[in-house]
């Protein structure tokens, strides 16, 4: 029962994150740059619960974005899944209790994720970019994400702990 409840809660949180991203964070950009709550969620869960859970949560989140808002299906799915897996893998080297670890990981993940995103969009579409503006946007987004991480860290840690408690299940994450 606990596992089912955990699964439902995770799905609910993923949907809530998408809704918050499109309805709230798009309305309050920082110097014209939007935060990416998805990275905060996926990286946070990856860090707390490992690569499998991180990868699945990232995959679901990315797929929703792809289907709903992207020109190409699969780009966000791929990128968010990688974010979940990589943060899950590197989490082994960090203490889960460290507040700084999550902040640093989200900051670095945002930079890598967005560079990869821009690179893929440039390769797959006729996407015109200027390196300087891309760097500025990515750095601002990384700072914005760090602020969000600090605000939401408590909840992400609680969610991670809840997932870890029901992790032994065969069918759940």
């Amino acid at each position: 029962m606990r596992k089912i409840i955990t699964t439902v809660i995770i799905i609910f949180i993923i949907i809530l994150t998408v809704l918050l991203q499109i309805n709230l964070l798009n309305v309050v950009p920082l110097f014209g740059v939007k935060a990416n709550l998805g990275i905060v969620l996926v990286a946070g869960i990856g860090l707390m619960s490992g690569q499998l859970v991180g990868g699945i949560v990232g995959g679901i989140y990315g797929l929703i974005l792809d289907v709903t808002f992207s020109k190409l299906i699969g780009v966000q799915l791929l990128l968010y899944t990688i974010v979940g897996i990589i943060t899950g893998r590197i989490s082994r080297g960090f203490s889960k209790d460290s507040k700084m670890a999550m902040v640093v990981i989200v900051f670095l993940t945002t930079i890598v994720f967005e560079f990869a995103n821009v690179l893929l969009l440039s390769l797959l579409q006729d996407f015109k970019i200027k390196l300087f503006s891309v760097i500025v946007v990515i750095l601002l987004e990384a700072i914005y994400n760090v602020i969000l991480t600090m605000l939401l860290q408590k909840w992400i840690v609680s969610l991670g702990e809840m997932i870890n408690k029901s992790k032994n299940s065969y069918y759940l994450l």
Binding site: K34, T68, K71, D126, E141
Partner: protein, 276 residues
């Protein structure tokens, strides 16, 4: 004989005392004696208690009946309140619907040559790179990919993909999008491109400006009709700056779009031309 005399004497004394008492107590401003007060208190204290209780009960009886009345009134008021709230909601819905219909009418009359489907924007872009908008009409309303999307102000973009009841619109400010435009004043064809640097301000970069053409601030740009997606003559924006480069073929201009992409609520998808 002696007993009879004593009895008669006692009766007489009694009568006299009584009459004396009557006489003594028959005065308006007479003060109450200690004895009277004592007897009076014996009765009045419990009487006061009784009266107090009785009044309390009677008052309480009214109180209970008042509660019933109040409850009833409250119930009625609550019902009225619910009805009024419903009416308010209906009113607000009507106002909102009215505004939407006005917007639709405006939209349809703005481009009489085209058959349009008016739709509401469900959500704006959620990324720092792409500018994709989601609308609440799709295949079921006759919308197909590559149809042009407009507002009363001007060009919004094109339909990228459709589901039964939604459609994804790629806006003209998307960094991967470009529109073939025409300068209204000079009739020269240019290319208006989305840019990651300019999209937040709702601006486009004009490139491939023909040699010798110098754009000036305020020059209006409209669609040229070339490219197969956007019909001819739809307003795009106006020039805000023109930069001359060392190589004249690289001259570029910045175009401020007429559509405010941050406040996009209603759009129209051109699904065909009106046949006369």
């Amino acid at each position: 004989m002696r007993n009879k005399f004593l009895k008669t004497l006692l009766i007489i004394i009694g009568v006299i005392v009584l009459f004396s008492i009557i006489g003594l107590t028959n005065g308006k401003n007479r003060e109450v004696t200690v004895v009277e007060a004592l007897f009076s208190d014996i009765i009045t204290v419990p009487q006061r208690v009784y009266t107090h209780l009785k009044n309390w009960i009677i008052k309480d009886k009214d109180f209970f009946s008042d509660i019933e009345k109040l409850k009833e009134e409250n119930k009625k008021l609550k019902q009225e309140n619910v009805q009024l709230t419903d009416k308010m909601v209906d009113y607000e819905l009507l106002v909102s619907e009215n505004n939407v219909l006005k917007e639709h009418l405006k939209m349809e009359s703005a481009y009489p040559d085209y058959e349009v489907v008016v739709a509401e924007v469900i959500s704006g872009s959620n990324s720092n790179w792409e500018d994709v908008i989601l609308i609440n009409k799709g295949k079921n309303s006759g919308i197909l990919p590559n149809m042009a999307v407009i507002t009363t102000e001007g060009l919004v973009g094109y339909v990228e993909s459709v589901s039964d009841d939604t459609a994804k619109i790629v806006s003209i400010i998307d960094a991967g999008n470009s529109v073939s435009g025409r300068v209204v004043r000079t009739r020269d064809a240019i290319v208006c491109m989305g840019s990651s640097l300019l999209r937040e301000n709702g601006r486009l970069k004009a490139t491939y400006i023909p040699l010798g053409v110098e754009l000036v601030e305020g020059d209006k740009i409209e669609t040229s009709g070339m490219g197969g997606i956007y019909p001819k003559g739809i307003a795009i924006g106006e020039v805000t700056s023109f930069t001359v480069k060392k190589n004249p073929s690289e001259n570029e201009a910045i175009i401020d779009t007429f559509v405010d992409f941050n406040r996009l609520e209603t759009v129209a998808v051109i699904i065909g031309e009106v046949k006369i």
